[in-house]
Each structure stands twice: as C-alpha cells, then as structure tokens.
Amino acid sequence: MAGARNMQRYSIFSLLRNAMSYHRNWAEAWRSPAPKPAYDVIIIGGGGHGLATAYYLAKEHGISNVAVVEKGWLGGGNTGRNTTNVRSNYILEQNSHFYEFSLKLWEKLSQDLNYNVMFSQRGVLITAHFDAQTQALLRRGNGMRTLGIDAVFLNREQMRRKVPILDFSPTARFPVTGGLLQPRAGVARHDAIAWGFARGADARGVDIIQNCEVTGFRIDNGRVTGVDTTRGFIGAKKIGIAVAGHTGHVAALAGLRLPIESHLLQAMVTEPVKPLLHVSLSFGAGHFYTSQTDKGELVMGGDLDGYNSYAQRGNLPMIEHVAAAAVTALPCISRLRIMRHWAGIMDMTMDGNPIIGKTPIDGLYLDGGWCYGGFKATPGSGWVFAYTIANDRPHELNIPFNLDRFSHGYTIDERGVGPYPALH
C-alpha cells in the first residue's frame, strides 16, 4: 500500500505504556499532509460518510491513492450535530436491507477500526398511544421480523417495567398502549465515528486534507478531471461528493440541480442526571425522541423547523414544541434545565431517502440527501459508496437509492407524503 504507515494500536497495554510517560508520547491519530497534484479518487467532505468511504475504498478495494478534502474540520457538520441513534426499524424493504447492513457493520466497528465508537445496543423503543398506532407498530415489527431484523412488541405492563418514567398515571394525556422495541439498536459516540474512520483511512495511505474548500469542478467532455480548492487545483479520475447538508450547493458547482431542499433540525441536551432512561425513546404522540448520554444528559430532538435554511440555528417555537412533547411523555423531567442547543442542516430529498450513486457526469458520484437519518447509515453508506466508486456501478443495496428514481417514478417514500421535503 503506497503511503501506508504503521498505525499505533490502541489496547490496555498501549494505555499502560503511555501512562508511564504521562500520556505525552501518543502518536497523532492521522497526518495533515499537503495535497498532492492528483489522486485516483477525491472524496469531498470529511464527515463520517466521506471518511468511511475513503476507509472502505482502501480496505475493501485496495484504492489508497485517495484524498478526503474538508472545508472545516473533521466531523464538524452533521456528524457532530445529531442525536446518535443507530437502528434499522423501517417499513420499506429497500430501507430495511440497507440500514440493517449498516447496523451489522456498527456491531463490529470498534474491533474493525481498533477505535472505541462506544456503540451501546440499549435498544430503540417507539411508544404507541392508541389502537391504530399499536396496530401500525405491530405491522412494522412483523415486517422487520420477516426480513430477519429483531423487533419485540411490548404491551402496557412490559412498557411500564421497561420505561417506568413514562406517564402511566390515570390522567395521562396520551396513555401508553404499547411499544415497539428493536433490542439491537442503540446509540454511539458521534465524534468517534469520524475520528475512527479518519485514523483507519490514514493508516491505509489516505490523505486527509482539512481547511480545504472545494470551489469548483473541472469537467472535460462530460468527465471530471479534478477540483479547484482554496488550496489550489487537485486532479482526480473519480470524485465522490459526501457533504450532506450542503449537497445542493456543492452539486450546483458541477451544474447539477437536485431533488433536495436544505432544512433545519434542532437538538438540545439537559443538565446531567443519574441513570434515568435505559433505552433510546421515540415518543409516538409527538415530535420528541431522547436518549441519556454517558455523561447523564438527556439529548433530545424533534421535527424540522420546516422552511429552507442553511443557518445552523433554529427558532424558538420548535424548541418549545419539543420541550412540550418531552414533558408530556416524561413528566418527571419537567424541571431539568436545557444546557445546550444547536441545529444542523438537513438535505431533505423529495421522498425522504438518501441518494447514493452515479450522476450524469462521468466519474462524479453522489452520496447525499440524508434527511435526518444519516448518522446510523455512516458505515453502510461508506461501504456501498466505496463499492459504487470502485466499480463504477452501484451495489445491490444502493441500486434503489439512485438519483434517477425521481424521474422514473420509483421514489422510496417511507411516510407516503409525496414531494414535500419538510414533511418527511
């Protein structure tokens, strides 16, 4: 492998050895090289998806003459701004297969990367509050089980044992009638996924170039030849775009108009408390989902603000809306204070599902439109995107997620709401 180097393995022994020297001699986790004049592949975007793509290009396909160019710092976009749920509890088969594949990669990721991504399979639980919703969740669970994905339906008593802090009082506005649990689902450490893939890719010879913004594409006879960046021109035979949140903007530099609108999604954390919630909870009667971090904070999120935005900050009515749902679901948290709050930019596609595949320009590949489901998909997305770039054709798993599906009428609309991005 050209450019590869020996990665310092992390273990209890390396920890002890470095403790002897007061942890002053750890090797840097990845290099910061100057860009070479040209690469076989350039990946635009140093978030989880871009770094995972570079890692699997080198690991699975032996393509290590690769650069990842990032306009800011690694994982500074949506990789570091999400609520870290990892699950595969979908209804449509295309989604189920893809996200289950990704979940299986998550299960082995810490060992594969020699980097603790802190994947905690505590289960993701969706609550039900009336009969029709109970039936819908049963149907979803049965669908998952027929595809070999774990799903367990919990009745009211089982729900009471699993999450006693839900409102089980006789006056509850939304009485709990049941819930659907995916036991293998869970949460992970968001930064670790970016850093682990960066370290693994770097060890296999990939150049990671931060503070380097792509300002244009060079296209010759319908084929890419490289990118102009704030650090000069870099040539490449193949280029992959993995910049979700800004996909429309970057693709426009190559003259592409996409079925994407950029929207805001807000999230927040409370002050830390002792262990209170042992699953990742999704409230069936409102826009609210939450899990407790290892530090004890409840991290929570809700629905989109609902209008086009690139602002990475939201408006107060949505915070109030999420907080109201939070207190309705879990009355005991009503006096917790909100410590931090932020927003990320979501590429909302017209059917609520990602686009992973080829573009009309030869040698240009697109991985974007992640709506608000990108984090869980990180390893799976990188794996299929690397396959697509290496072989110049999509893998079976991402054929359904091609860009052409909109013009051909093969949209994958999990919620069945049509081409209204803010509603997905």
């Binding site: 429309g248 426009a252 996409l258 079925p259 609108e261 602002a311 408006n315 017209m350 209204y420 803010a422």
Partner: protein
C-alpha cells in the same frame, strides 16, 4: 422570525405554514407536458444558500397565501406580497 404579512402586519412565523419555492411554474398544459417537465417541476429545486422567494400561508391569521423574500443563511426577511402581486411587496 417575524413575517410582514401584507394583510395583517408583522406576525410570528409560527402562525404560518411554509409552502416552498415560489419561483416554480406548473407546466402550462398538464396534458401536454413531458415527463422531464413534470420531473423538473415536482422534484428539482435550486435550493439556494442566500436570497429565496417562497410561499407562506397565514394559517392562523388571514388564511391568505403570500410570497416572502427571505435569506436562507441569515433568515433576514426583505418583505412580503400577496401571491402574484410582487410589485406590492410590503417593506420590512
């Protein structure tokens, strides 16, 4: 955000429902429009980072559709007008 409704004055955006890009034009003759024209109208968006013309419905007010000029990066609103009457845009 405060949206300057041309009928009701400046109101909180939570009173409104978002209607998306106001520059799209429905194919003039739906029966004759090609698949490509429908694809472009239904799915493709310019999605600019910057000035954006967009529809809002004043759901909890006058119940009228209005056209708003708003910046998608700063959230600054540069006025609003009744749909189809941009020349009457009410200043901010």
């Amino acid at each position: 955000m405060l949206i300057p409704c041309p009928h009701c004055g400046a109101r909180p955006h939570a009173e409104f429902t978002y209607g998306g890009d106001a520059t799209l034009r429905r194919p003039a003759d739906p029966a004759l429009a090609s698949d490509d024209e429908w694809h472009e109208y239904l799915y493709l968006r310019t999605n600019p980072a910057g000035p954006h013309r967009e529809f809002w419905h004043h759901t909890l007010g006058c119940e009228q559709w209005i056209e708003v000029a708003r910046d998608t990066v700063s959230h600054r609103i540069d006025g609003a007008a009744p749909v189809g009457r941009a020349s009457e845009r009410r200043p901010r």
